[in-house]
Symmetry: C2
Subunit: 138 residues, 2 copies
């Protein structure tokens, strides 16, 4: 498969390393910016303030050789296959984040609520939510 | 970013080309198999029949140069940025599918309901659902 991911943007946040990255974001109040590269701005047409969207990131600090982990890095949790967890350590460390768009600045800066990712994390996709992905806020 | 996706498995389904692939799957009753490559089977530990999971695929038939589309391939729908749609045509054609695991056969064949993807579609990740991704069935 021809499968080299293309970076479409980057996360700009106040989180500067992985140990400070909380585990789950939506509803947290955490604000961040997504800076979309100029060549992909056209793909944003139709996204507006107030939308809830899914942001797919490339968790570049993840260990791609890991197949089992203690969930939430807690040794008290039994070893579990990474596909049964949301660990960033996995063969393809794609992060999936539900966020609320607060606004779009300078046409290519998305201000979002709920994206808890380390500053500089590559963004690879944005998708609208389907109805059955709209669960309740924790 | 070091970002070559690794194929962890393949979809085995009765859908043999993209024009027959329905747009949205969960709740459709459509059954398919996910065949996990032997070297990644360890990562499945903890997934069981009855679980709802997210399957991430690589929609290898997608056109990666497309930035705007008529949603649902309907010319009556105004042109929209791909990041505001679930089109398979997008810079990184990652498919996101909510499915129900019906069973696991021979340790590495997941029988699932709701995965409407063309036979042979590469699978790149499987994730458990977080509570706020558990919306209602359509």
């Amino acid at each position: 498969m021809e499968s080299v991911l293309r970076q479409i943007g980057s996360v700009r946040s106040s989180l500067d390393d992985r140990t400070h990255a909380p585990k789950q974001g939506w509803g947290s109040g955490q604000e961040a910016l997504i800076e979309i590269l100029p060549e992909y701005v056209e793909g944003l047409q139709g996204i507006a303030a107030g939308d809830d969207v899914l942001v797919l990131t490339w968790l570049h600090l993840g260990d791609r050789s890991t197949l089992r982990v203690h969930p939430r890095d807690d040794p008290a949790n039994p070893m579990t296959g990474v596909f049964a967890t949301r660990s960033a350590d996995r063969p393809n460390p794609i992060g999936l984040h539900r966020v609320t768009v607060l606004g779009i600045e300078q046409q290519r800066l998305l201000r979002v609520e709920g994206l808890e990712a380390v500053d500089g994390t590559p963004v690879v996709d944005i998708k609208p939510l389907l109805p059955w992905e709209r669960g309740s806020r924790p």
